[in-house]
Symmetry: C2
Subunit: 151 residues, 2 copies
DNA sequence: CTGATATCATTTGCATACGAATGAATTTGC
DNA sequence: GCAAATTCATTCGTATGCAAATGATATCAG
């Protein structure tokens, strides 16, 4: 709508006219996430991004407690529990109670988990590549940097 | 780890060493989303971003069918149903079956929904502002543009 | 040593989110 | 005009994601 047209319809407030969902970060983040998820599940159908993140971080840091692992991938206690439960059911991780502190649940990659991770890692790179495909190299670096800044 | 140290441990593959969750778009998108959600719920506690998006789009386009509204904010039929159900329960939208096509469920903002939207819209701007606070003006524009490109 | 505090994990409740299956109603193709 | 295909909505199942409450264990303060 032109400025002239806006002036001609004073009954509609400027706040209403100028509000566009597309200009709000939450909306565009949600859509970008959506597209990434679709690409992820197309390539890695039998594992979700959070599950993959848990396995990847677990290989990085070796065994840790369940909550600590959650903290390392930004998941609260309730969420990481479900993720670990499902990975355990599928034999990708192993669990043990901590020797000194019986509150803790020690999580460890199983051999199968390690193999799965090795197999899927190349796909993860491909997914990131594919998600960023609409961007130039410079734009990709810029996007990653800016997202890291607000995350 | 230095390049020399890497060379000294050939048993660990380069793919493993170089894989960093932080370099993958899915992980940083998830974290950015998380921070936005926290800021949103701190300011608008009684409405979620999807619910807000539905109300905002509804005011933009006037009445539409439930699925059509979902399409306009990138939600599939199953998801938009839950959102509309909750908005309906709270009296923010009104529902009717379409006169000509009895399959369709026509969704409309209620007076209360319109008031709620008018009240919350300024907060939505503040939330976007706050989420993007770590960035300069130029960076904000850049981030929005790049996200729109991959979304 | 012991009561207060803190930490770890679990559970419950609620809200997205999507795939797949289903049923109802409409439109299309012939 | 009627069978086939399509569209709209609903339901079910699974998986995050977070807040709040709870229980078990560990640590700290006095």
């Amino acid at each position: 709508m032109s400025i002239a047209a806006k002036a001609a319809r004073p009954e509609r407030a400027a706040a209403e006219e100028d509000y566009r969902l597309e200009d709000h970060i939450g909306f565009v983040l949600r859509k970008a996430n959506q597209r990434h998820l679709a690409l992820f599940s197309a390539r890695i159908g039998d594992l979700t991004p959070p599950q993959f993140a848990a396995l990847a971080r677990l290989e990085e840091v070796g065994e840790t407690s369940q909550n600590q692992l959650g903290a390392l991938i930004a998941m609260d206690a309730a969420t990481i529990k479900g993720v670990i439960d499902r990975l355990k059911t599928r034999g990708l991780v192993e669990l043990d109670t901590h020797k000194q502190d019986r509150r803790r649940l020690v999580v460890r990659l199983s051999a199968k988990g390690r193999e799965t991770l090795a197999r899927l890692r190349p796909l993860a790179f491909a997914i990131t590549e594919e998600t960023l495909a609409p961007l130039t190299g410079r734009e990709r670096a810029s996007l990653m940097r800016l997202l890291a800044k607000i995350g």
